[in-house]
């Protein structure tokens, strides 16, 4: 019973309280790059979730076998293998998604969320808990991407879930398109929101909002501190950067 309860706790913490994107500020590159549409955001989120669960389970199962001196290279090999598997599956079954995610699909390897969870959680906890942690963190990442993608797509392109048919076929449903309705009342989508600049801007707004909500709950502000915030900080031989920066 206790096991079940703590599994639930590990699962839910990734969704809100320790959301990897909004609270821990990890994986910013894919967050900004793929959220130009909801379909891309969901595709990226789910691909990363699969890799995260698999790598967490594998690393947790092997945590007593991997010598701590070579653990980072070992983790990278494990993660890269799962990324390759996911990449092959996406290429085979969802070629359109593969094309729109482009190089960000292989770049899941260097997504700090995955290496960060391996180092901070999976290497110290049993398999079941690590799987729950991976699922929670992955879905938290997907949810954050979904929110960003939804707002950017609606404001920037005037559509919602456009191209969903390429991801799942729900009776030929291919998303909503408001651009005609907008044009009728003399409005056009705000294209800047799907451009890179809009990504930075909206992520900034979202971070400000999460910081406000977090401070209301007495939680600390989400910050990106450069070196000491990096999941590699503990293992990094040169934490002198911290002194250097001061």
């Amino acid at each position: 019973m206790a096991e079940k309860k703590s599994c639930m706790k590990e699962f839910t913490k990734g969704l809100l309280r320790e959301n990897p994107t909004m609270r821990l500020v990890l994986g910013t590159c894919p967050t900004l790059a793929v959220t130009t549409s909801v379909v891309n955001a969901i595709g990226m989120g789910l691909a990363a979730t699969v890799v995260l669960i698999c790598s967490n389970v594998a690393i947790s199962a092997l945590r007593k076998v991997i010598p701590s001196k070579v653990r980072i290279p070992a983790y990278i090999v494990i993660i890269a293998s799962f990324v390759t598997i996911v990449q092959m599956i996406v290429k085979a079954f969802l070629p359109v998604l593969d094309e729109s995610l482009g190089i960000f699909l292989p770049l899941i390897v260097v997504n700090c969320i995955i290496l960060g969870r391996a180092e901070a959680f999976a290497s110290k906890n049993p398999v079941l808990l690590s799987a729950a942690d991976g699922l929670g963190m992955g879905l938290g990442f997907t949810a954050a991407l979904f929110c960003m993608g939804a707002v950017r797509e609606i404001l920037g392109a005037g559509t919602f879930l456009a191209g969903i048919k390429d991801l799942v076929n729900i009776g030929g449903f291919n998303g909503f398109d408001f651009s005609d309705t907008l044009a009728n009342i003399g409005l056009a989508p705000i294209t800047i929101f799907i451009l890179p600049a809009g990504g930075f801007f909206f992520f900034g707004i979202i971070m400000a909002l999460t910081n406000k909500i977090a401070s209301g709950k007495g939680l600390p502000k989400a910050e990106l501190h450069g070196c000491e915030h990096c999941p590699m900080a503990a293992s990094c031989s040169r934490s002198t950067l911290k002194e250097d920066a001061q």
Partner: protein, 209 residues
């Protein structure tokens, strides 16, 4: 020659690695507080990017010859990780002055998506360039692209370090302080790079096939 110039302009201005491709955002936001750390990090990135491309290009040819192209991701990340370690050891032993300047940034670069990004991009560019511009994208193109990507990273870092030093003194609303205002400032820097759009086509450097 025109293609090389086009690659340089694309990498540095129109398709800047940080501001329009979103690669290397973590160092861009994390290490850009001071100009000298920003420059040091960028120079280390340029160095590793060029080295990684030079090493990964022949390896990729070898992989493709043996029908092992699906192993690219695993091989590239391992090669980059090993390379960074090796560079660190060699620099420490033989060029201590350079090691002192760049060494501290090297471990950070192993898992930097910009380095793996440029290597993966060079591989995928082969098909894209052959298809859209009828250009035979080879080793020289890959190297020029890596240099351009690195210099683009340097430019973005230097510009942004300047913007951030101004932000330090500004009076910012409480909830925008820290990361949010940094992101919004990055957005404005990114808008300024929109102005370079169409430069490559306008100069007639790359013609669609």
């Amino acid at each position: 020659m025109k293609v090389f110039l086009a690659l340089l302009i694309m990498g540095i201005l129109t398709q800047n690695f940080v501001l329009s491709k979103f690669l290397g955002i973590c160092p861009f936001l994390g290490v850009s507080k001071k100009l000298n750390t920003a420059v040091g990090m960028s120079v280390a990135v340029i160095f590793v990017m060029c080295l990684a491309t030079a090493v990964c290009y022949p390896i990729n040819t070898l992989l493709e010859k043996n029908d092992l192209a699906y192993l690219q991701t695993i091989v590239f990340i391992l090669v980059i990780a090993a390379l960074v370690q090796l560079v660190e050891i060699v620099l420490r032993k033989y060029i201590p002055s350079l090691y002192k300047a760049l060494g501290i940034y090297l471990p950070l670069i192993t898992t930097n998506c910009a380095v793996l990004g440029v290597v993966v991009l060079n591989v995928s560019n082969v098909a894209t360039f052959a298809e859209s511009y009828a250009v035979n994208y080879g080793f020289a193109h890959s190297m020029i692209n890596s240099v351009a990507a690195g210099v683009g990273f340097l430019l973005a870092m230097v510009l942004f370090a300047g913007v951030r030093s101004r932000l330090e003194a500004a009076d910012i609303p409480k909830f925008l302080q820290g990361l949010p205002i940094t992101l919004i400032a990055a957005s404005i820097v990114s808008v300024s790079f929109l102005g370079f759009g169409g430069l490559v086509e306008g100069l007639g450097l790359l013609a669609a096939a």
